[in-house]
């Protein structure tokens, strides 16, 4: 035990001495969670919309005013020819245009039918989806106002409730996702160099001839980083509650316990990388180039996992941040108890144990 503690103390000194890394470790997750918590959403705001009005009558103008009054759009009124419109799109200046054909109001009055075209830049499909749905909504509202005089029989009135996130904000989805992503990469990156650095600088030899057991080395390497990560976690949680307005609905202790488990999983993954590689460079490149994009794209918070091909869904099961994202969503946002997340907890626990034992097995007690 005394041996273990003194080794932990040695590791702590190493970590605390590098002020810059320390600053980055504490500063980075905080800045990132803040930045992405505020910046990431899928709700379009104040996009420029070009009105191509060949009709210039009261109906087209009323709709235009309605569009301008909504918080989603800013009117850029221009009557452009098709060529001008196309070149404005190609320059990337505009993303959408509404075309009112000639005699719009007249058609609406006489034939009870009129057409509006919404042109969107579908090369940015997410934005295009939102734009079409907002514009359609505005036009339908206008239509409903016009038709209000006619009472429609046999109406089904849907009463819709948006649970957990009544204003449909981005933060309740992105905060757990970014938390999982940032913690995963920071923790893996920290321990990925831990052992390989000793190999590279030659101090590994000293460790190997000491009476330390491999498991003590692994555990004591991870301990200081566990404490640092917990400090990170607490600052992220404070930010999300007090700044981002995403409160912890469930049991705080449960959330902290689950987070600790996830952090240990990531630290063990880093240790395994560190044991398997021969230089810091390789270890860090594997940790970052190898994990950043897969963790982001298969972690569940960016793309819905149920849409992926089956093989990819299986691969996504290997990514620890996926499970942690589910846990945080359930405990923090929905306020669920342990019974809702025991399965995910068990999976994380099994992954952690496996990583630990594989690391132990791969740990070479001899220099090559």
């Amino acid at each position: 035990m005394k041996q273990f503690l003194s080794f932990v103390r040695k590791e702590f000194r190493h970590v605390l001495r590098d002020r810059r890394v320390l600053l980055i470790l504490f500063g980075m997750p905080v800045v990132q969670v803040l930045l992405f918590g505020f910046a990431l959403s899928n709700e379009i705001k104040n996009t420029k919309v070009v009105i191509v009005d060949y009709a210039k009558d009261y109906a087209s103008q009323q709709i235009t005013t309605k569009i301008g009054a909504s918080r989603y759009f800013e009117i850029e009124k221009n009557l452009l020819t098709h060529e001008e419109l196309l070149s404005a799109f190609k320059k990337g200046e505009i993303k959408e245009a509404i075309v009112f054909p000639a005699k719009f109001a007249q058609n609406l009055a006489d034939n009870k039918q009129a057409q509006v075209q919404i042109i969107t830049d579908a090369s940015d499909l997410n934005a295009s989806n939102q734009i079409v749905s907002y514009l359609t909504n505005i036009i339908q509202n206008y239509e409903a106002e016009q038709n209000e005089l006619q009472e429609v029989p046999y109406r089904i009135i849907p009463e819709t409730r948006m649970l957990y996130n009544p204003e449909l904000k981005g933060a309740p989805n992105f905060v757990p996702g970014v938390m999982a992503l940032v913690l995963l990469l920071v923790c893996v990156l920290m321990t990925a160099v831990a052992i390989v650095k000793e190999k590279e600088t030659g101090t590994m030899e000293v460790l190997l001839v000491s009476p330390m057991k491999p498991w003590t080395i692994i555990v004591s390497k991870a301990t200081p980083y566990l404490i640092l990560s917990l400090v990170d976690l607490i600052s992220i949680l404070l930010l999300s509650v007090f700044v981002l307005d995403v409160p912890v609905q469930g049991n705080l202790l449960l959330l902290l316990a689950e987070s600790t488990l996830f952090i240990v999983t990531c630290l063990m993954l880093g240790i395994l990388i560190s044991i398997q590689t021969s230089s810091q460079q390789v270890a860090m490149l594997i940790a970052l180039i190898g994990m950043l994009m897969p963790a982001m794209m298969l972690g569940g918070f960016m793309f819905p996992i149920e849409n992926m091909p089956y093989a990819l869904q299986l691969i996504s099961n290997l990514i620890p941040s996926k499970w942690y994202y589910i846990i945080v969503k359930n405990v923090m946002i929905k306020g669920a108890g342990f019974s809702a997340v025991w399965k995910e907890t068990l999976i994380l626990g099994v992954i952690t144990l496996m990583l630990f034992f594989v690391s132990l097995k791969k740990f070479k007690i001899r220099l090559q």
């Binding site: 590098d18 810059r20 980075m28 992405f36 910046a39 990431l40 959403s41 899928n42 709700e43 379009i44 705001k45 190609k90 990337g92 609406l108 039918q113 509006v116 075209q117 969107t120 579908a122 090369s123 940015d124 997410n126 295009s128 939102q130 749905s133 359609t136 036009i139 206008y142 239509e143 016009q146 038709n147 429609v152 046999y154 089904i156 849907p158 009463e159 409730r161 948006m162 649970l163 996130n165 449909l168 989805n173 990156l189 021969s278 460079q281 860090m284 490149l285 970052l288 180039i289 950043l292 994009m293 897969p294 793309f303 819905p304 992926m308 990819l312 969503k329 359930n330 929905k334 669920a336």
Partner: protein, 372 residues
């Protein structure tokens, strides 16, 4: 000039000798490019539905079949209490609960209107919003059907309407692969360039070989250039491989001229590699360098406008994207590959990235001090 040649020789040798790094730098991005695009799909379908029917009438059953046959919803469970259905939402098994109250059919016939209750799991706001939209449309059509059945005279009055025709330019199939894959390629090339260069100079510092450079008459700019050029070529090779995969594997045929894209990428890579070298000159250890780079790369990627549109960010975040080189790359890749924009169209973006390239590289040269 001769010094540069010799330095280049040294760098290239170092790169090719370290087979592991070379493999990580080329095979890993390509492997990811083979797998990850399959995940890139924002399409909202298979919304899991629990249908709670207290009425058990012909009408309520018709509504259910209308909803399930729309293709957007997948029925998970039917005919339960609301509390049991709510459990499904709590455990993430369902996204939406629809409750038909008892007397639904009777009230609809007798009083002409009837409420139904819908509860969405709205943690993912986009999904819930779109799902609610689909349900609105289905209910609207269902209403029309009933009116046709029961009151054909009203129907003719209802005809009047504005027909909204969405036109999806540049991606008429509304294919997410087309919208996302070229951008993902840009991201992978950026990752590779940033991390490799960020590690490079600082490694020489850490193992001490930088002293030999420092005491030699090598000019600072030659040193930086010699670090830059090999990675520039490597990144171009990976980018080209990626374009081949785009064409042969994902069948994305570039609409515009690829030379325009290459011209932009050439300048872009100078900027992003310069940034990597700059970070490297500021760091003392490889670990520091990697952490700093990781911080910036996350910002580049998440504020790059590929996964969430730049238009949806708050104003201050949009200003940050103006300093984000990757945002320009993603925009230009989309413009050239999908919209067929020409050299003139991308000129404003090219200018900004060119300024970034000059500033970042000059800064890196300036910041590299030939002393320890």
């Amino acid at each position: 000039m001769r010094t540069l040649k010799i330095l280049l020789q040294k760098e290239v040798r170092q790169i090719f000798r370290n087979k592991i790094i070379l493999r990580i730098a080329t095979i890993m991005p390509i492997m990811q490019f083979l797998i990850l695009p399959l995940a890139a799909n924002f399409e909202i379908k298979n919304i899991n539905l629990v249908f709670v029917d207290h009425d058990h009438s012909v009408d309520s059953r018709k509504l259910l079949s209308d909803i399930t046959s729309s293709g957007y919803f997948r029925l998970i469970d039917y005919n339960n209490t609301f509390d049991a259905a709510y459990k499904y939402i709590e455990t993430d098994k369902a996204d939406v609960v629809l409750e038909i109250p008892a007397g639904f059919e009777k009230n609809l016939m007798r009083e002409g209107k009837q409420q139904i209750f819908i509860a969405f799991n709205a943690i993912n706001g986009t999904k819930a919003g779109l799902g609610a939209g689909y349900l609105r449309t289905i209910l609207g059509n269902y209403n029309k059907d009933i009116i046709v059945q029961l009151a054909p005279s009203v129907k003719s009055k209802q005809e009047s309407g504005i027909n909204v025709v969405p036109l999806d330019w540049f991606n008429s199939q509304r294919d997410y692969k087309l919208a996302l894959i070229p951008g993902i390629l840009g991201m992978l090339v950026t990752l590779l360039s940033c991390f490799l260069t960020a590690l490079n100079i600082v490694k020489e510092k850490e193992i001490g070989t930088i002293e030999q450079i420092n005491v030699s008459p090598i000019r600072k700019s030659d040193f930086i250039l010699a670090k830059l050029i090999p990675f520039w070529i490597l990144a171009n090779v990976v980018f080209t491989l990626g374009l081949f995969l785009c064409y042969f594997l994902y069948h994305i045929v570039p609409v515009g001229n690829l030379l325009v894209l290459y011209a932009f990428v050439a300048v872009y890579l100078l900027a992003i590699l310069g940034f990597g070298l700059l970070v490297s000159t500021y760091s003392e250890t490889q670990q520091q360098s990697m952490f700093i780079m990781f911080f910036f790369v996350m910002i580049f990627i998440l504020l790059g406008g590929l996964f969430t549109p730049i238009e949806s960010m708050p104003h201050w975040a949009q200003l940050i994207t103006k300093l984000n080189p990757l945002a320009y790359l993603i925009k230009v890749i989309r413009m050239v590959m999908l919209m067929g924009s020409g050299f003139k169209d991308i000129l404003p973006q090219l200018e900004v990235v060119a300024i970034m390239a000059v500033v970042l590289n000059a800064w890196a040269v300036f910041n590299y001090k030939k002393k320890v």
